[in-house]
């Protein structure tokens, strides 16, 4: 069952590469939150009640409800509809995401360490790489936040791949990261949108000394 979720997650990355609408990004993030919950739920062998509550809060509540809801609000506030600055054509992005998946599958296949749960590593590595790529190719700061959240999801899976049981501290750290990042980013996207009347990073150049 875990494998099914891993495959669906990989597909969701390809969907990210195909989408151009901001609304779709938010929906995909919601989907990824649910997939992550499924992944954790089926991989934890003996789940304790407090662990279950924690995982539920982290994946369902934060990643699937709070984050997309917040992003949707920011999207509406800034009236964002479509990311119309494809610096790289969609076709190349799709090829890249597929390539990154293949490369991470090959790397995982070569990991001999028994402490590693290679099945999670495959998608987590691809997700981190793709998230960073997503940030680089988009010029809109809203998409930058989406890219950051894809990296975060990748790191969440990386934490699953290196530990059998999830250390509470590590989880708390991820939760803190997500909450802080999102709240502050949300506030700042609105401010940047209001102050600069744009979400294009090319307009944010007054800091340079030239």
């Amino acid at each position: 069952m875990t494998y099914l979720f891993i495959i669906i997650y990989a597909i969701s990355l390809i969907y990210f590469a195909l989408s151009e609408r901001v609304k779709k990004f938010v929906r995909l993030l919601f989907m990824q939150g649910l997939i992550l919950f499924g992944m954790v739920f089926f991989s934890l062998k003996e789940i304790e009640i407090y662990e279950f509550i924690f995982v539920l809060t982290e994946t369902i509540l934060i990643k699937s409800i709070v984050v997309p809801w917040f992003l949707e609000r920011v999207r509406k506030h800034n009236n964002l509809k479509r990311i119309h600055e494809p610096t790289v054509p969609v076709f190349y992005s799709v090829i890249l995401v597929v390539l990154s998946l293949i490369i991470s599958f090959i790397i995982s296949d070569n990991i001999l360490d028994s402490k590693f749960h290679t099945q999670f590593f495959t998608v987590s590595f691809a997700s981190i790489i793709y998230g960073l790529y997503f940030i680089i190719i988009h010029k809109n700061i809203f998409s930058h936040v989406v890219g950051y959240l894809i990296v975060e999801n990748g790191i969440f899976m990386l934490s699953l791949s290196v530990g059998n049981t999830m250390p509470m501290m590590v989880n708390l750290a991820i939760l803190l990261d997500l909450l802080m990042g999102l709240l502050v980013f949300g506030i700042f996207i609105n401010r940047v949108g209001n102050t600069f009347q744009t979400d294009d990073v090319n307009q944010l150049t007054i800091l340079k000394d030239l």
Binding site: H144, V162, A173, R191, F196, L207
Partner: protein, 472 residues
């Protein structure tokens, strides 16, 4: 004990934010500073003891906490003067103080944390409060700097987290994960070297935002260009030291593994690259604060090179970051005076500072001598020791390249300082009365650096030797 300090600080910070009254802010700030000094003294008298399972008062932490306490007191004093023009906006002033208190608390937590997860989380918390302090003036340019700082440091910290995950892969035993540095040092030998190398690269890349070195230095320089001058005195000193602590502790974990020489090479590359970037960028700077931000980058490159070379370099590195903290803080306090006299932030508008305000001119000149490591500056001693270690270790190429970059940086800084100090006084500027106390504080920092360079007290030497004993 340390948890109590954190609870008290959070309480003080929240109260300042909620009450927004000047008298409450003043009283609570004094209480906070007293508790900070008390905690640092407590740590000094309980050295090498653990507090809770998450904190340890080791020598490095104690040394840097003393620096933090001193600089926090002066920063609160200079902040009072800086905030006078914002008196009619109590909300922003209260945000300033409560964010400042939380920033100092998070930095102290980084110094004392004995657990890599706590260290990481505290570094993340510093990003949040640095952002709110950089955004203090609410200008368009401040917004841009804040946005970039938040975004890039979050990405960096996420990468560092991935590195920490890989580093802690063997730290879990029977379902119990102990992420303390002592445990990591004992289990690190089990990790495959490839994973260890990837982990080190991710951690260095991630924490480079705080240490202000290559690759993620840019946002840190931008933040220092925009932040209020008293805050800059902390960002360029104690926060950079926090980045150093993170890199140093990671280095101690791998110091006795087979990837030590590989890690040293990474430090050399990062150090030289950062120095190269600083020298190129300094040629183009037009704002005084930006020039000092790149000077910080240059000093941290020297620190990384010293950490890589080892031997006497370890001692010199710790000495260097402590002395650099006092010099840079003094200079940033002085910048505030320059900005208020010339009512500008651009170097092209500054000239004849000596004639306008002789005492401040002398202070700036002494600051210039200190920051460029010209004798009798204490930084000369630490840099001399690092280069001595490089030559003794037969790293001639690195030493010569570093010396060339240092010469370029010294020339550019000299040009900037001489432009500010001499030349004709601009027409609209009038000579001003010097603020004796402010200049006295700055001069005493520079004198302290000279004194510590020439004659280090025995307790100071013991603390440094204790801090680096884990590496030898």
């Amino acid at each position: 004990m340390y948890i109590l300090f954190i609870v008290l600080s959070v309480g003080i910070s929240l109260s300042i934010y909620l009450f927004k009254k000047e008298i409450v802010t003043s009283i609570l700030s004094i209480v906070f500073l007293a508790s900070l000094v008390f905690t640092s003294s407590y740590a000094y008298f309980n050295i090498n003891k653990t507090d809770n399972i998450f904190f340890k008062y080791d020598s490095l932490g104690v040394l840097l906490s003393i620096v933090l306490s001193i600089l926090s007191i002066t920063t609160f004093y200079f902040s009072r003067n800086y905030l006078k023009k914002f008196e009619n906006n109590p909300r922003n002033v209260s945000i300033y103080y409560s964010a400042l208190i939380m920033l100092i608390t998070a930095i102290l937590t980084i110094y004392f944390s004995n657990n890599i997860a706590i260290l990481w989380a505290s570094i993340e918390i510093t990003s949040l409060f640095v952002s709110s302090l950089v955004f203090f003036e609410r200008s368009k340019v401040a917004l841009e700097a804040t946005w970039k700082y938040l975004f890039v440091s979050s990405i960096g910290i996420a990468l560092a987290f991935a590195g920490i995950l890989l580093l802690s892969i063997y730290a879990s035993n029977d379902g119990v994960t102990d992420l303390s540095f002592d445990t990591l040092i004992t289990v690190v030998g089990n990790i495959d070297t490839l994973w260890l190398k990837i982990s080190i690269l991710l951690i260095i890349a991630g924490f480079s935002v705080k240490l202000s070195v290559f690759p993620l230095y840019a946002v840190s320089v931008d933040a220092k260009t925009i932040a209020p001058s008293p805050i800059n005195a902390l960002l360029s000193t104690v926060l950079v030291n926090a980045g150093f602590v993170a890199i140093f502790r990671t280095f101690t974990v791998v110091a006795h593994t087979e990837i030590l020489s590989w890690t040293q090479n990474v430090f050399y590359i990062v150090g030289l690259f950062s120095m190269f970037i600083a020298s190129i960028q300094l040629l183009r700077v037009k704002r005084l604060k930006r020039a000092f931000a790149f000077s910080t980058m240059e000093h941290m490159s020297i620190v990384l090179i010293g950490l890589a070379v080892g031997g006497i370099g370890y001692y010199a590195v710790i000495l260097h970051i402590i002395l650099h903290s006092f010099v840079k803080a003094g200079l940033f306090y002085q910048i505030y005076q320059i900005h208020s006299i010339f009512k500008s932030k651009w170097i092209e508008n500054f000239s004849g500072y000596f004639k306008i305000n002789t005492l401040a001119g002398i202070t700036l000149l002494v600051g210039f001598i200190s920051v460029t490591a010209i004798p009798p500056s204490g930084l000369f001693v630490s840099e001399f020791l690092i280069f001595k270690a490089l030559f003794l270790g037969q790293k001639y190429f690195i030493a010569i390249v570093a010396l060339i970059f240092l010469t370029i940086i010294m020339y550019i800084l000299g040009k900037i300082f001489l432009t500010v100090l001499f030349g004709n006084v601009p027409d609209e500027i009038q000579t001003s009365k010097p603020n004796y106390l402010e200049n006295f504080i700055q001069l005493s920092f520079f004198c302290l650096v000279m004194y510590l360079g020439i004659n280090q007290p025995s307790f100071f030497i013991d603390l440094i030797n204790n801090a680096i004993s884990i590496l030898n």
